[in-house]
């Protein structure tokens, strides 16, 4: 369409060809990405036991079976306890760590920030084994709290990164202005820094939640009988293949999408815009 503006341009026809090829490539890419998910969602509403051409009629029976069976649903509920709590804990730790790194120059500051990111760099398999060893020694293995704690270790870093990005946009004069007007350090933290960082904290929370909600390997090691959803799904697949899995997948997909859309709506406008207030 844009090329129609320059009909006499000899390059236009050529450009149109490239544009078309690019769009085709993109369409193919999206098709391969979305097809499995779409298939999963479609088959979660199909009557047939096996994946074949759709047309056996629509049903909610697999969702019903899920609710009747209970294991996957219980695991989903477990995940809905673990992930929000782990994300909240990660944000508390992440905010405090990000603020101290942002605000103070102290001995070992560089080492401290590396230490906070380290859990992300270690392969989860190794972390999982290590956590299991540690937790069973102190009698904390196989509980929901052990999953919460281990997830916090891993998702604090991404949460902190997002919060740090937001704090980086805060001019130092903002805090100084609060002190100058008579606010104590704590009042400043509570009345100025926290409100300023809030969008970053919300974004960090959603990111951390998504990470925890999808996390399988560490949870598989430490969850024991209190399975989270990915662990339960794995156990289910090992036993049998049945369209209930499609129903679980659809639910998980919907939840992940919701939190991702939340990240998109909350976080990106803030991170992409400059600090706008008193500024230049």
């Amino acid at each position: 369409m844009a090329s129609a503006i320059h009909p006499s341009d000899p390059l236009a026809a050529d450009g149109r060809g490239w544009r078309l090829a690019g769009r085709l490539y993109m369409a193919v890419g999206y098709f391969f990405l979305v097809l499995p998910i779409a298939t999963m969602i479609v088959f979660s509403f199909q009557k047939g036991q096996f994946a074949s051409i759709p047309g056996q009629g629509w049903t909610f029976q697999w969702y019903g079976k899920l609710f009747d069976d209970g294991t996957l649903l219980a695991a989903l509920l477990n995940s809905l306890i673990v992930s929000p709590l782990a994300a909240t804990g990660a944000c508390v730790l992440g905010f405090l760590a990000a603020y101290s790194i942002h605000r103070f120059r102290f001995w070992g500051r560089g080492a401290f920030s590396v230490l906070l990111v380290l859990p992300v760099l270690i392969p989860p398999l190794i972390l999982g084994v290590a956590f299991l060893g540690l937790l069973s020694r102190i009698g904390l293995q196989g509980q929901l709290s052990s999953v919460i704690l281990t997830h916090m270790v891993v998702i604090t870093a991404p949460a902190m990164a997002v919060i740090q990005l937001r704090l980086g946009q805060m001019p130092s004069s903002l805090e100084e202005a609060a002190w100058d007007l008579g606010a104590t350090q704590f009042q400043t933290l509570y009345k100025v820094v926290l409100p300023f960082a809030l969008p970053g904290i919300a974004g960090g929370w959603l990111l951390a939640f998504t990470f925890s909600f999808d996390e399988f390997i560490i949870a598989w090691f430490v969850s024991g009988f209190e399975q989270t959803l990915p662990v339960a799904v794995y156990a289910y697949i090992v036993g049998s293949v049945d369209p209930s899995l499609n129903a679980v997948g659809s639910i998980v997909f919907a939840l992940s999408m919701l939190s991702l859309i939340g990240v998109e709506l909350l976080l990106f406008p803030i991170l992409l815009s400059q600090y706008r207030s008193g500024d230049d």
Binding site: E176, A178, A183, S277
Partner: protein, 388 residues
């Protein structure tokens, strides 16, 4: 603590005694003494890096000092943390709280402790009226213009009834037109409140138009402290003469002294100056300062004092006046400011030879001297004015 407060005169608002600040090896402030009287508008001016902002931040309590003492209305506040000082800062970048609206921004300092909501509201309304923000109280800060933002910054500080207001280049983020309007507004506000203002700026016209007294700083030291007129017409040091206005500076040796005049052999001519009360001896090295608007041109060959031949090298028409740049035989530059393009010699052409003169009474004599208080620091020479 209170022994000192008895010595300080009661009408002095702020007194700085021997403030020094080092950042590692870098000396940001050397030994600053300064006193500001109640209700006085004092401007600190100097090139960037001269320590003026550091000094202001030390007074506010945002920066520690290496040594020295701060007295606010006779009280030693040197050890008080920033949030306990009754000084308030107005920021160059406004530093308004983006999550609060205008009313909440102004009320911030009043709502930190226990407070009466109705009283806070009344106070905010009153101060907003004073700075003409009455109809903007419910706006978001991001919806305001630069000038309005700075009004919020000022209101937010004033509402807490500070004992002195510190302003760190508050107008430099505004455009030139607005800046000039805000200058007179701020001056009126200051006079109406009778509050002391300590105002940091690098802008000379801003300092001169608003301040009762001006501090000129350079390399962490105060070069001169006095009314704007004095800074302008009687610079005390070489630096001030160079930094302020458009001064011509001639270096030379005293060769003769008679009838209250000293004669100084400079590169191009012998220049006469009023000797003053404490004239430099024969043979001593001095610098002579002549304001560009005191320099006149005369027909070539006319006899008299302070005749200097020069060639016109450039001309700048600024509307109300013309600045002429001339070059002397030795290559020195002389500036002359005339209220109108000259008529008697016709329109001055580039490379035209001219003769300049000025009155010996308009020639300020600076003698190189060792800065008082730092005699034992080799290499720290400065010029100190004589006969003032």
């Amino acid at each position: 603590m209170n022994v000192i407060s008895d010595i300080a005169a009661p009408q002095v608002d702020l007194e700085l005694r021997g403030i020094a600040k080092n950042f590692g090896d870098f000396v940001a402030l050397e030994h600053v003494d300064l006193s500001i009287e109640r209700g006085e508008f004092v401007a600190i001016m100097g090139p960037s890096g001269c320590g003026k902002t550091t000094l202001l931040r030390i007074v506010a309590g945002l920066e520690s000092m290496s040594s020295g003492q701060l007295l606010l209305r006779g009280q030693d506040i040197s050890a008080l943390p920033v949030h306990k000082r009754s000084t308030r800062l107005v920021w160059q970048n406004f530093a308004l709280f983006p999550h609060l609206n205008v009313r909440q921004n102004i009320a911030f300092g009043l709502t930190l402790g226990r407070h009466d909501k109705a009283a806070v509201k009344a106070k905010v309304d009153e101060i907003a009226e004073l700075v003409q923000l009455g109809q903007f109280l419910d706006r978001r800060v991001s919806q305001l213009s630069g000038g309005q933002k700075q009004r919020v910054g000022i209101a937010r500080a004033l509402v807490t009834e500070p004992e002195i207001l510190l302003l760190d280049e508050p107008l430099s983020a505004l455009d030139a037109h607005l800046r000039i309007r805000m200058q007179s507004e701020m001056k009126r506000l200051q006079q109406r409140l009778g509050l002391s203002f300590l105002y940091v700026t690098h802008n000379q016209s801003e300092a001169f138009s608003m301040a009762d007294r001006v501090v000129v700083m350079n390399k962490g030291r105060i070069e001169q402290y006095g009314p704007p007129e004095e800074i302008y017409t009687r610079p005390r040091t070489h630096f001030v003469a160079e930094f302020v206005g458009s001064n011509n500076i001639f270096d030379g040796k005293v060769v003769d002294m008679q009838d209250g005049l000293i004669r100084v052999q400079c590169a191009d001519a012998i220049i006469s100056a009023a000797a003053g009360e404490r004239p430099p001896g024969k043979g001593s090295t001095v610098s002579l300062v002549v304001q560009a608007d005191k320099v006149r041109s005369s027909p070539i060959g006319m006899p008299g004092e302070n005749m200097l031949g020069a060639v016109l090298s450039g001309r700048e028409f600024t509307g109300s006046q013309v600045i002429y740049y001339l070059e002397t035989a030795s290559g020195g530059e002389v500036k002359m400011v005339a209220q109108e393009p000259f008529s008697q010699t016709g329109r001055a052409a580039i490379n035209m030879a001219m003769q300049l003169y000025w009155s010996p009474a308009d020639t300020v004599v600076l003698r190189p001297n060792i800065v008082p208080g730092v005699e034992n620091m080799p290499g720290r020479h400065s010029y100190v004015a004589l006969g003032t």
